[in-house]
């Protein structure tokens, strides 16, 4: 019974390229950013990497800025920094909300967005928002840099498109200023992970919703968009019937993939996905 990690080799590279080299050289190496997903697993000895490459001090991965309205968030930005950023509040309020709901204050102080997205915990909050917001992940690896849309980044349970040796360097999110957006969450009361988290991004023209993006997390092995719900909302004036229909569509879209556990069995999670879609629309329009 442990709360002490097994031994490992520790490296603290001073540049991004050095970090990538170290990770590329060793299949059993892991990148360590904030460590708030990795260290708990190591404490339980469920994770026993041979080597940790501490990227936590690389300045290349820090900072939040906007460029023509596009938010650019360095991978090492902490949840607390993001939640408190006026740029983020302006351009992607839902992300400020979601990062403010991760874990608890101590976790938010040190856990990083890059680490969180790379870990791709199905019950984590930020992936759902980055997906709904149409974010892009910028990656750098031994073969250079590339960009992957959030739609293509999350592959399965804890599984992403990150290749060996690759790191997330920053996350770009197109400005949602002028679009209605919100993230709402039903949290597991013990772990604080999302049982269901729903993010909606609604572009309105007067009373009409002209485009919608809907993503759900927590309920399924990965953050997942709901094309049918988006379709129901688009072109509607978000009247009760349309939102109810969207909720039902969302539930149908994810029906086969919903996970269950002791606290929230599958049928409950499925139903809550619909309920929280409605609440997300309400919150976005409030």
């Amino acid at each position: 019974m442990s709360m002490r990690p097994a031994n490992f080799d520790y490296q603290r590279p001073t540049s991004l390229s050095e970090a990538i080299q170290l990770l590329a050289n060793n299949d059993e190496a892991k990148a360590l950013a904030g460590g708030h997903s990795l260290i708990p697993a190591m404490n339980q000895r469920l994770s026993t990497p041979e080597q940790l490459v501490d990227i936590g001090r690389l300045d290349e991965l820090k900072g939040i800025s906007t460029n023509n309205g596009t938010l650019s968030i360095g991978a090492l930005s902490t949840h607390a920094q993001i939640a408190a950023s006026s740029d983020v509040r302006t351009h992607c309020a839902a992300l400020a909300t979601a990062t403010g709901l991760v874990g608890d204050p101590q976790v938010r102080n040190w856990g990083t967005l890059g680490g969180n997205l790379a870990h791709a915990d199905p019950a984590s909050d930020p992936p759902t928002v980055v997906l709904a917001a149409g974010g892009t992940l910028h990656l750098q690896g031994p073969n250079g840099t590339r960009s992957v849309s959030a739609d293509n980044f999350f592959i399965d349970l804890f599984t992403t498109d990150l290749q060996p040796g690759e790191l997330i360097t920053r996350i770009e999110i197109p400005s949602l200023q002028g679009k209605k957006n919100a993230y709402v969450k039903l949290a597991h009361p013990a772990s604080r992970y999302a049982i269901v988290g729903v993010c909606v991004v609604l572009e309105m023209n007067g009373n009409e919703c002209v485009s919608a993006r809907v993503a759900v997390g927590g309920a399924t092995p990965k953050a997942t968009r709901s094309p049918s719900a988006e379709e129901r909302l688009t072109g509607s004036s978000l009247q009760v019937a349309a939102v109810d229909a969207a909720a039902e569509a969302l539930v149908n879209d994810i029906a086969g993939d919903v996970m269950g556990d002791l606290f929230a069995p599958e049928d409950y999670r499925r139903a809550m996905a619909g309920v929280y879609l409605k609440r997300a629309v309400q919150a976005a329009m409030a």
Partner: protein, 154 residues
């Protein structure tokens, strides 16, 4: 690996295994046992300290990650013989019983007040979501933090 960590104003240099958690560095290497351990999954908050001014669960950080940083533990909170207003408030308001969660509660709440010096009761309750107490039902902890915020806010 050699690390140099400033704790409560004193620089400590030690050669440690990279796997050593910061909480074990504080408790076992330095003998600062005011920081307690109440769980093994980063939930309970008993081990909360400040690193570079922000609250951190020291069980969720390797000591090597703290290399070169500034840390404050419960032992370093008071100014000499003068208790920190948060310590005073916990004492005045019966904000503790067995005391085991108390250092973590005090460290978490002092960090919280830096970000939000005039919190509502609801905000205080929310800010404690990373800290468990099994004795007080949180009632007097919330009261203590409120009292401290009023005292510190002047």
């Amino acid at each position: 690996m050699n690390v140099s960590i400033t704790i409560n104003g004193t620089v400590y240099e030690r050669d440690i295994e990279p796997r050593m958690l910061l909480v074990h560095f504080i408790r076992e290497e330095l003998g600062l046992t005011g920081t307690n351990i109440g769980c093994d999954t980063s939930q309970c908050g008993a081990c909360t300290i400040h690193m570079d001014g922000r609250s951190l669960k020291s069980c969720t950080c390797l000591a090597v990650q703290a290399d070169g940083r500034e840390i404050t533990t419960i032992e370093g909170l008071a100014d000499g013989d003068n208790l920190h207003p948060m310590q005073e408030a916990f004492w005045d308001n019966h904000g503790l019983q067995c005391g085991y969660c108390t250092p973590g509660m005090i460290m978490a709440s002092t960090a919280f007040l830096k970000d939000n010096p005039h919190p509502t009761e609801e905000e205080i309750r929310h800010a404690l979501e990373g800290n468990f107490c099994r004795c007080t039902g949180y009632q007097n902890i919330v009261k203590s933090i409120k009292a401290a915020s009023e005292k510190m806010g002047g």
